[in-house]
Amino acid sequence: MISIKGLKKTYLSGATAVNGVDLEIGAGEILALLGPNGAGKTTTIKVATTLSGFDEGEVLVASHNVDSAPELVRQAIGYVAQETGIDYFLTGRENMRLQGQLYHMTKSDIRQRIDELSQYFKINDALDNLVSTYSGGNRRKLDIACALIHRPKVLFLDEPTLGLDTQSRQDLWRYIRRINEDLGLTILLTTHYLEEADKLAHKVAIINQGQIKIIDTPLALKQSIQGDVVSISFVNESTENQTFFWNLKTQDYVKDASWEGNNLHIYVTNGPQAIPKIMEAAHEALIEIGQISFSQPSLDDVFIRYTGASLNSKSEDGGEQWWEKWAGKAGPNNKWAKKWQQENNTDENWQQKQKTPSQAPVEQWQNNNDASSNTEFTGKEKTQSTNSIETEKKTAAPVKSTSEQNENWQDQAEKWQNSPGEWANQWKENKDDLSQAWKTAPQEGKSSDDETQKGSVGTADPTDAASKQAWDKNASQWQKKSDD
């Protein structure tokens, strides 16, 4: 139903959005496109929905070529964007009617479809109320109903449940599955939620750096990582960690290992048996381990294995936004920026500068984040077990959280990720003031942190003395680097 071959697109700013994406989606299939932000998910959808042009490749949707017959493609597809495209000051009925008119449907046909769809999605009671009075879940349902009004064969859902509460989300999942079964609709969806991909999709495609890394059923993907996953975070960043990593890989109890930032994920047959061995090996190598835990593989682990990044800690996605365009004009390609870069030696140097002051807390947040998402799965899903063994109090993470709080956390982590540049500048300008910056920024996240600490083993309070010490240590390291 959808066939994408060798899709390449580079934005005017020079950023490569997709670099040779190949996708085949059969009729009646649900495929979930998973990937970190900037991986090319939204670009792929925008190309397939005729919203965006592309440089190379061939894209067929409902056996029409997107490039040469966009009109036919548009007739055949429905599209539900991340942002709801419905008008808040119109009623549900008016929104649906307008949508039908845009597809040049007859009046009686539109009336019939409005009746059918509003009953199907159980929004007929609110149909004549302004959309601004709708709940988030109903708005999404109306959005999907609008996209279905002209009986499309293919439906594109871009982050369909983003920002919904757990109950509305599950409700919506039921509907998406139902429209797939009842109408035989082919669905391509992108999502941030692994659980969503796991429950909804027949097939999951993992996309990273503009390329599809793997396509398979969720079950097969999870089975490809058998046994347990042991996750380790290190207290210090050093080259010894790398040696340790390569050593571990040669051990016969280790099946595979991969990095996710400063975290190491080790795939073993038996978690409880492997942990003492790993601890011993670390001890011998004189490596301090901040936190160690094990769990059964989730889709997240599959994801980490193919992309080297967790899905929980990403900034916003979405093709080329206006700020990117402006950043392109005033950004790294700008001659002043280049000059500045030259004066400060190399790109590497620049990255280091950014990394030193900012990365440490960000990674700590990621740790917290991952730990909590693991337990979220424990609560709801199957038989996952998570065990945290603490060796150092200062990097310990809260272990329990509800999903909403978890989301809240993700937001905080995102905020943090977006700000490293600022941090770096602050750092550069005023090294003495650092403790100040340290205090202010982390506390932004602290309030939600506090809320989630019920049942936590320890806290990652950034203002406590221990982490301040760690910070100062980092600071001196950084100073050394910049002196060099």
Binding site: K46, T49, T50, L51, S52, G53, E71, R74, Q75, I77, Y79, A81, Q82, E83, T84, G85, I86, D87, F89, L90, E94, L98, Q99, Q101, L102, Y103, H104, C146, W322, K325, W326
Partner: protein
């Protein structure tokens, strides 16, 4: 294309009628200026060489022009909002004509301006302005207003697409209002202006709009002045429309 434009125009119309006060919001400034300037410059009319009997009569085309500028120069802001809220994407994935998206927007802005113009005329009449209510005059006044409304809404929409941000758009909106007004004979008769401003007025679209309006507000229509102003305005409007539509077509690629 006409059907698409009509359906979308209809949508904007429903929303406007649901919130009529919001549509009249931009009328506050022109009315305020009408009161202030008429009071401030009332003695102007006694100066030798002043065209017209009272300053109110002279300033009325200027106020109508202000109504256009304040009313339609912000059309681009709501386009940006629609782009960011996904409404435009939703239109773009449907098979409607791309031009109709721009057309419906600017027509809506322009018809708001026409409705506001009627209110301005009524207020001016109550203040004692001396102009003709003859249907032909009224028709010509409103059609000039419609053209000007479309032209400035197109400029605003075009800038919105090019800048993709609200801040530069607001600056453009401000640039398009008062400076353009002062570089024309909207407030001060040509004879009273320094020579360089007279020259600047020659390339100011507002000047031609004001001329055309002034020509049809009098009881006896000044045909020559009107036709000159009308055709220049028409040309500007078509150019702006063409520009805005082509800018919109280049929005995603």
């Amino acid at each position: 294309m006409i059907a698409d434009t009509w359906h979308l125009y209809n949508k904007y119309l429903i929303i406007s009628l649901r919130m009529p006060l919001w549509s009249l919001f931009s009328l506050i400034q022109p009315l305020l200026w009408l009161f202030i300037f008429t009071a401030l410059f009332s003695n102007f009319a006694q100066l030798p060489g002043f065209p017209g009997d009272t300053y109110l009569d002279y300033f009325l085309p200027g106020v109508l022009m202000m109504t256009v500028l304040f009313g339609s120069s912000w059309s681009g802001v709501s386009l940006l909002r629609e782009i960011n809220s996904g409404t435009v994407d939703k239109l773009l994935v449907s098979p409607i004509s791309r031009a109709s998206i721009v057309l419906s927007r600017v027509l809506h802005s322009a018809s708001q301006v026409v409705a506001q113009a009627l209110i301005v005329l009524a207020v001016a009449w109550m203040l004692g302005a001396n102009f003709s209510w003859h249907p032909l005059n009224l028709f010509l006044i409103l059609s000039i207003m419609l053209l000007l409304g479309i032209a400035f809404a197109c400029l605003s929409n075009g800038f919105a697409i090019l800048s993709q941000r609200e801040e530069p758009l607001v600056i453009m909106g401000n640039m398009m209002t008062l400076p353009l007004m002062f570089f024309s004979s909207a407030m001060v008769p040509e004879a009273f202006m320094p020579e360089w401003i007279q020259t600047a007025a020659l390339v100011n679209p507002v000047e031609y709009g004001v001329d055309a309006l002034r020509a049809v507000l009098t009881k006896e229509i000044n045909t020559e002045l009107f036709l000159q102003g009308f055709f220049v305005t028409l040309a500007i409007t078509l150019a702006a429309l063409f520009w805005a539509i082509s800018a919109f077509k280049g929005l995603r690629d």
